[in-house]
């Protein structure tokens, strides 16, 4: 086999489970990437510590990077290993940047496949390599399916339908110039394509997992006054964790912090204390809290374990859901050997901690991770790879659609317009599975009476 023509990139370690995440790159572009991303020249096989600069020149992270010149590398090709801080957001940003630099998302097991084909792995290990690819692929497929079952899949189906209709309308005039077709009406195509472009952009922007990564899992901290909400927030933020961002509550009437808990990025939102008998002003606070609750992905209900919990305002309890709420019984340090005076509402999981002494905080992390796993699959390196690939495909689709839009506006060559639309279709196919030309022909023959 000859050397590969394209350069692949993927996370090489399960992200979020360790302090360091490795992104591996293999292929002919590695040398170019090394010189354009890193200020200092890389010496082969020598790790160097320097900032990763993305295509716009922004520093993403301080990373440890090593260049391996082929054939003395894992795959036998030029390889870059980039170790970032163990934060999925950073991994995602690095991957996105590598894709912008013409790398392609690696298929499951592709590094190993290249290593084998380049003779880096012994013949006797062929079966083991095949097993590994099988296992990786099964996980990747599961991760991709999980996404497609959600709104991504639904939206994509609709966008693909519109795109096929638009393409059929363009192709009809290319392949059937002698037919008695109605005058070519590009406005119909234009409308269909603007829909598809808008939809694709929205998908890219609101793509669930992307949003979770960018903004974090919205976690509302709720509770009566003096139950220790702020101490809990400080305890969660203040320990040795990578602080992703710190948005001071100057423009908001609540405090917000973003923290990493295990592999998950949490946006912690503190709320005003809930008084069982609220006054006029506090009513306003409750309404705001309810708004927060409605947008929340997770809720931490903080109670003072030293006295029986007061009843929550009915409109607040109505917003709580046992699958997304964890009851945090605070002030465990004051209880000594005694049992807590409350365990929170019936049917809700609870955990006892002390925000002051940090007792129980490790267990709390585990419980939060378990809850957050419901939003994003537990094996997050697969998910990040899938997610990065999807986002990249959607970006390609957007670019192709914009180019198609220009051809439409300039009355450019039909076959180039068609080429861009097919590019879009291929990009959609990267996410939801290859779309056969037959699907376009079906639309074409349904729309037009073809056949002299």
């Amino acid at each position: 086999m000859s050397h590969s023509v394209d350069t692949i990139a993927a996370p090489a370690t399960p992200a979020g489970t360790s302090a360091i995440a490795v992104v591996r790159v293999s292929g002919p572009l590695c040398r170019d990437i090394a010189t354009s991303v890193f200020a200092d020249a890389l010496e082969p096989r020598v790790a160097s510590h320097q900032p990763y600069r993305d295509v716009t020149g922004n520093e993403i992270d301080d990373v440890l990077v090593t260049f391996f010149a082929g054939p003395r590398s894992y795959t036998g090709e030029d390889v870059l290993e980039i170790s970032t801080h163990g934060n999925p957001v950073i991994t995602q940003l690095v991957l996105n940047d590598l894709f912008k630099r013409e790398c392609r998302a690696a298929e499951a097991g592709e590094f190993t496949r290249r290593a084998f084909l380049n003779g880096q792995i012994d013949l006797s290990q062929a079966e083991a390599v095949m097993d590994l690819i099988h296992a990786r692929s099964a996980r990747a497929v599961a991760a991709a399916n999980q996404q497609l079952q959600g709104s991504l899949g639904r939206h994509l189906t609709r966008l693909t339908d519109d795109l096929l209709l638009g393409l059929a309308r363009v192709e009809a005039y290319i392949d059937f110039p002698e037919e008695d077709l109605p005058d070519e009406d590009r406005r119909v195509v234009q409308d269909l394509l603007s829909n598809v472009l808008r939809g694709t952009e929205r998908l890219l922007a609101t793509h669930r997992y992307g949003e979770l990564l960018r903004d974090g899992i919205k976690t509302v901290i709720l509770g009566e006054p003096n139950a220790g909400k702020s101490s809990l927030l400080n305890a969660l933020v203040g320990r040795e964790r990578a602080l992703v961002s710190n948005q001071p509550g100057t423009t908001r009437d609540y405090l917000e912090e973003t923290v990493m808990v295990g592999p998950h990025c949490l946006r912690l939102i503190d709320t005003a204390g809930l008084n069982p008998e609220p006054g006029e002003v506090e009513r306003l606070g409750i309404e705001k809290t309810i708004e927060r609750l409605r947008e929340a992905d997770l809720v931490l209900l903080v109670l003072d374990a030293t006295h029986p919990a007061p009843a929550l305002p009915a409109e607040v309890s109505a917003e709580l859901n046992s699958t997304t709420t964890l009851v945090v019984l605070n002030k465990g340090d004051l209880l000594g050997q005694k049992s807590p005076e409350t365990i929170g509402p019936d049917g809700f999981d609870s955990i006892q901690i002390s925000a002051l002494t940090h007792d129980g905080m490790t267990e709390l992390d585990q419980r939060i991770i378990a809850l957050a796993d419901n939003f994003s699959p537990s094996d997050s390196s697969d998910q990040i790879a899938v997610n990065a690939r999807h986002a990249e495909a959607l970006r390609h689709a957007t670019q192709a659609l914009e180019s198609a839009g220009q051809h439409l506006a300039n009355r450019g060559p039909t076959e180039l317009l068609a080429a861009d639309l097919r590019g879009t279709l291929d990009a959609f196919g990267e996410i939801g599975g290859r779309i056969e030309n037959e699907a376009m022909l079906d639309r074409l023959f349904e729309t037009f009476c073809i056949g002299k």
Binding site: A108, G109, M130, R136, I174, D180, P413, E415, F445, C449
Partner: protein, 603 residues
Amino acid sequence: MGASTLLLTGNIDTVAAMSCNPAIGGQAKGHIVREIDALGGEMAINADVTGIQFRLLNESKGLAVQAPRVQSDKKAYQYRMKHTLELQENLQLFQATVTGLNFKDGRVTGVRTNLDIEFAGTTVVVTTGTFLRALMHIGKNKNEGGRMGDFTAKTLSASFEEVGIELERLKTGTPPRLLGRSLDFTKMKEQRGDEHPTRFAFHETRQDSALFHVEQSGEERLGWEPGTNQVSCWMTYTTPETAEIVNQNLTKSPMYSGEIQSTGPRYCPSIEDKFVRFADKPRHLLFLEPEGRSTNEYYINGLSTSLPFDVQMAMVRSIPGLERAELLRPAYAVEYDFAPPTQLFPSLESKKAENLFFAGQINGTSGYEEAAAQGLVAGVNAVNKARGNEPMIIGRHEAYIGVLIDDLVTKGTKEPYRMFTSRAEHRLLFNHGSAENRLLHHAATHGLIKTERLERMQAKVAQTTNWIEWIESKRPGGEQGTYGDHFRRMSQGKGAPPAMPEDYLKLPTETRQEIEYRVTYRGYLEREQRQVEKLKDIEKVKIPVGLDYSKIKGLRNESATKLAETAPFSLGQASRISGVNPSDISILLIYIESHRRAASKSD
């Protein structure tokens, strides 16, 4: 190739008879004819020198989707082809109907005929067209035969079934033929040919004597200078009355009464289909196409039907200009056997019987051009097989012929398969003028073209490459951009063409056209070329015949089953089977590679 070949046909006079409309080329089909010409096939020259109307389709669009089309003189086309076969060295022509095949140990060994003469052959190519167990329908009337006035091949199907080749049925149809002097052309719109004909055959790489002149190898053949003395086609439309006649008689159509169950082509529907499926379309366009110069017969394109003859008459006469039309031949539908083509290797050899090749409608295709392309590939590979040589496999990144065969053997077909440019992933690379450049290496490897033309083709490719390099690197005096930038700006309506050197202007027109196309569309073409390069590696990996997929560890069961069914020839073909995913391909690649390495170690 010089192989000793026997051509058997039920009727020598109907070799290359055009059963349907008297036209060659059009979108995608015209591209195929030029590809056939690049591979040494005869179709292009034959269509050119018997052409009576030439038109370049999509002239207003880009080069990639322009295609030549010609109306040929039906009889001249057929007789010139017959004459060419007669003059062909190493080819023996004989009239007999093949009634069955002889097999031994899973291999075909020859054929039996209706004359009780048997012929032995190392390899056999089957091209039954629409004749296999063919049944023609006109209303309730049924006649056996593959074409009006012709016979049917009844017993041959049993031979295929004997070796496990599955057969299914397809349907196609053809319109009535009318007497020209009974038509009123003043009520129709004229469609004239192009003043400057676009020919199918590449003339810049040939000696004039080898081309359009009627003299070849010292023999005089039928034909004329292409583009001379062209004739017109005529356009008219159906009327509301036509629609009413059709709609009132739908139950008499065997398609609607359930008489015909087999699938017809969506792109070539009968008139009854058009009125039913597009009821809101007020009228349908019809073309009156002359069948030749020495006949008054006209083909009415667009009026294919299987309605009874009296309904056909009424229908025809409800059309402006055809009020007094006399029908020479009725329209009819024909049903015939085909062998689903997933039973073939990409060489077009049967997977069920060795040395047996299939081409044309028996593979589920429709169209003269699609058939000719397969005939050429099957013929070349029958010789390769007989000589123990590697088959000629044209990739789907190289030519429409490659797309055609890959689609057939990988996906099969549910309706008569016709080529569309949209079926090609890399359409922009397939402009018709580049067929020689694209297929040169196949023509050279398999000895399909005489040395002299081959050398000219090589020179043309070199010239094209060199000039593109020049254009992309040199700047016109005192200017910012390269010549290439100039061409690209010009294509966007900005600026005039750059002044090119004398040497360039001396190049043949088609070469210049090719160079300027490559330059103008560079961005898009390079993108497609990059995609092609990425796929090339897996195209090169051949899968051993008889591979037991169930034994490959890690392959999903679902994929193993699909792979076993299709038995792909290369990893590239495997990757196009629906349901087979990239990780299956990786696993397969490693399996094949590890076995190859193990084998080379033990050597």
